[in-house]
């Protein structure tokens, strides 16, 4: 039987006090602008969240290093959304009501975003997300949302046009059960039909399976001449491996977020050889993509990393424009820096310089022009295509 002695209590209290006293943070001149980062660090999104987090922090670090905005630094408060709506809502409440963040960025799963969004708009907190479900921007969010992920319609049309340009007309679609699954298939079909082809088979699979062999057999029954793999990174690793094992050598197309370097490293190089990926992109002459890649020390970045870069940059520039760290200020001013006739800027630093010179700016991001319509969706964008060669992504073209 352990006895609780006075000595033990004293020891415990001393340890607890030491723990609380340790992280005394020093603040630079002016109160720091708090930014809530709510992203999946564990759970199904755990493969993507850490990458996005790194990209966001890299931008804030760069801005802080350059002196912040009028001496005010950006301080990130990170919470794990656990890819679970229940846990995410608890985390969001903590960010909003304890840390008092005016802005939350980084949610990934559509269910998490849909659960967190009402909490945000009720407490006038601005939100930026990568979630693609069409239903999200239709919620009554009163403008407290922008998302950098183009709708599945915009994406599928671009992807189908690319596939049509390769002369392959019989698409076999195999993808994960997610909010975008159905609409992606429909828009792929509509676009490829206009070019004289069609989606010949469509199979939806569940996440977290160790093999997708039966789904692959099912999709192959209709004899497609190319495959559209509409999954996330963890399952795409398995699908690519199973396709290779089955000896299927059809052209394969994926979302770029499904093929980050980790997907390529998970299999021998020949398994992923030739896979084409597509991601939203800015103009051909935009340097934002290159700047973002250089900041992270990478050659090619995927769509999620690019979008995370853009959230952080937009938050910095919007704050610089309004000088006010409230959710309503972010809501009212984000479009003043993201679009319009101002001078085009490709990074937060460049934008800050232009703002300090009194210029109007238009941020052109790594993930696209970042022009938002009235419900917070991407209005239009170009697409960037890359192809896997020898285990590395090589740039193909921007359309």
């Amino acid at each position: 039987m352990t006895r609780v002695t006075r000595r033990k209590i004293l020891k415990g209290a001393a340890a607890a006090a030491a723990g609380v006293a340790l992280p005394v943070r020093a603040y630079a001149a002016g109160e720091a602008v708090k930014v809530g980062i709510l992203t999946p660090l564990t759970g199904a999104g755990g493969a993507d969240g850490p990458r996005m987090l790194k990209a966001m922090q890299a931008v804030f670090d760069e801005v802080n290093k350059a002196g912040g905005v009028d001496g005010r630094m950006f301080q990130t408060v990170v919470e794990d959304d656990q890819t679970n709506p229940e846990a995410a809502v608890r985390a969001a409440r903590k960010l909003i009501e304890v840390d008092k963040v005016p802005i939350i960025m980084g949610t990934w799963a559509s269910s998490v975003t849909t659960a967190v969004l009402p909490v945000c708009w009720e407490s006038k907190t601005f939100m930026m997300t990568v979630s693609g479900a069409d239903s999200i921007s239709l919620l009554p969010h009163q403008g407290y949302l922008v998302r950098t992920q183009p709708t599945s319609k915009l994406q599928s049309i671009a992807h189908a046009s690319y596939i049509a340009s390769t002369g392959k007309m019989k698409i076999g679609v195999i993808g994960i059960q997610a909010p975008f699954a159905q609409s992606t298939k429909e828009h792929l079909d509509a676009t490829i039909k206009a070019a004289g082809g069609s989606v010949v088979s469509h199979v939806i699979y569940e996440k977290d399976k160790s093999t997708y062999r039966s789904e692959i057999d099912q999709v192959m029954k209709a004899n497609p001449d190319n495959l559209y793999l509409n999954g996330y990174a963890p399952d795409t690793v398995v699908v690519l491996r199973d396709l290779y094992k089955a000896g299927i050598e059809l052209p394969k197309f994926c979302q770029s977020y499904a093929v980050p370097q980790s997907t390529l490293d998970a299999n021998p190089p020949e398994v992923s050889e030739g896979v084409v990926t597509g991601s939203p992109s800015a103009d051909v002459d935009s340097t934002a993509y290159k700047l973002a890649a250089d900041r992270l020390g990478m050659r090619e970045i995927d769509a999620y990393v690019a979008q995370a870069t853009d959230w952080a940059s937009l938050a910095v520039l919007t704050f610089a424009k309004s000088k006010e760290a409230t959710g309503s200020a972010f809501k009212d001013n984000v479009r003043k820096v993201s679009q319009g006739d101002g001078v085009k800027v490709y990074s937060a630093i460049e934008g800050l310089k232009a703002i300090s010179e009194g210029k109007e700016i238009n941020y052109e991001g790594a993930s696209g022009p970042c022009d938002f319509n009235e419900i917070g969706d991407i209005a239009k964008c170009r697409f960037r295509f890359t192809q896997v060669r020898n285990g590395k992504l090589e740039f193909l073209k921007i359309v």
Binding site: G19, V20, L22, P23, I37, L41, T42, G43, G49, P50, L53, V78, E79, D80, Q82, T83, N84, P85, E86, A87, V89, R90, A91, R93, K94, I96, E97, V98, A109, S110, S111, V112, T114, A115, P118, E122, S123, A133, S135, L139, Q177, A178, P179, A181, Q182, I204, E206
Partner: protein, 311 residues
């Protein structure tokens, strides 16, 4: 800060309702049910669909959700009547996962993985968000109180004794002339009803439900609540649920204080802490913080005669 505490109070109350329901099935009747979140989903979806799509009043939706969850509970208990222990655990886990997969894929029922949003809440819109949370806090904890009194009465009634009998030795209860299957079905009905009620309340509180919500994570949190508080004990169920929510939230504030840990590592550290807590409790406090007290049991000391006789 107080708004945050109020919202967490609501979460703790909903966890407490679930822990109380789970306690009837697992704590009292000894039936290991890992499908908890499935019954939670039945209640949440029923009430949400009835109020959103058919415009039923909230109370009717919540009562229907509770009732349907209880009915599904009876169904599951009858299907699994021949199973005990691990096998029952696997089948109930399968039930919850099947339900989640069906709700993800059958888009016509409740929008599949998009989920159902805009679920009405009592006076939502009329009250400001903080007053709404406060009102809901009152509602949830009133439900906890009523449910607690009801289950406490049930626990010390002949019905409760039979359930504990089934838990400790099913054969003996059968020999005593009790219909074990019927009692198990009743235990499942009461327990799942409470789980469904928690689900219905949760949907009306957050205004949104989706299949992702009904992942096994929540089942584990409730199981942990019950183990922490004390299995078989209604007070323990409530105390455990409050402690777990407190613990889950407290780790948010404590883990960032650990030096030289990145955010990604901190997230994993939180999960490790939760797992470690479960292990520590199972090792040092297997009966929970408030162990079940079995009243009115006084075994007579063995007589000298009994000791000498071979058993």
């Amino acid at each position: 800060m107080e708004h945050y505490l109020i919202a967490m109070g609501v979460t703790a109350g909903i966890y407490a309702i679930m822990a109380l329901g789970m306690n009837v099935i697992w704590g009292m009747a000894g039936l290991i049910n890992l499908g908890l979140v499935g019954f939670f989903a039945v209640g949440a979806y029923t009430s949400a669909l009835l109020t959103v799509k058919l415009g039923w009043p909230l109370a009717a939706g919540i009562v229907s959700g509770t009732a349907l969850a209880a009915l599904v509970g009876i169904g599951v208990s009858l299907i699994t009547v021949r199973m005990r222990g691990d096998y029952l655990a696997i089948v109930t886990l399968g039930f919850a996962e099947t339900l989640r997969v069906v709700m993800s894929n059958e888009l016509w029922i409740a929008n599949g993985t998009d989920g159902l949003s805009g679920i009405p809440g009592p006076l939502r819109g009329t009250l400001d968000p903080h007053a709404f949370n406060l009102l809901f806090l009152g509602i949830v904890w009133t439900v906890v109180a009523v449910l607690f009194v009801f289950l406490q009465r049930l626990s010390f009634s002949p019905f409760g004794r039979v359930l504990r009998g089934i838990r400790d030795d099913e054969g003996v209860v059968e020999v005593a002339g009790k219909n074990v299957v019927l009692f198990k079905a009743k235990a499942f009905a009461v327990g799942s009803g409470a789980l469904g009620l928690a689900g219905a309340l949760y949907g009306h509180f957050t205004s949104y439900i989706a299949p992702d919500l009904f992942a096994p994570l929540l089942t584990l949190y409730i199981k942990l609540s019950l183990l922490t508080g004390g299995l078989g004990n209604n007070v323990g169920a409530i105390v455990g649920a409050v402690l777990i929510v407190f613990f889950l939230e407290a780790t948010r504030f404590i883990v960032p204080l650990v030096p030289a840990v990145s955010s990604v590592q901190a997230a994993s550290l939180r999960e490790i802490l939760i797992a470690a807590t479960l292990l520590l409790i199972l090792r040092w406090r297997a009966k929970g913080l408030i162990p079940e007290r079995i009243a009115n049991i006084s075994l007579p000391p063995p007589t000298a005669e009994a000791r000498t006789q071979p058993i």
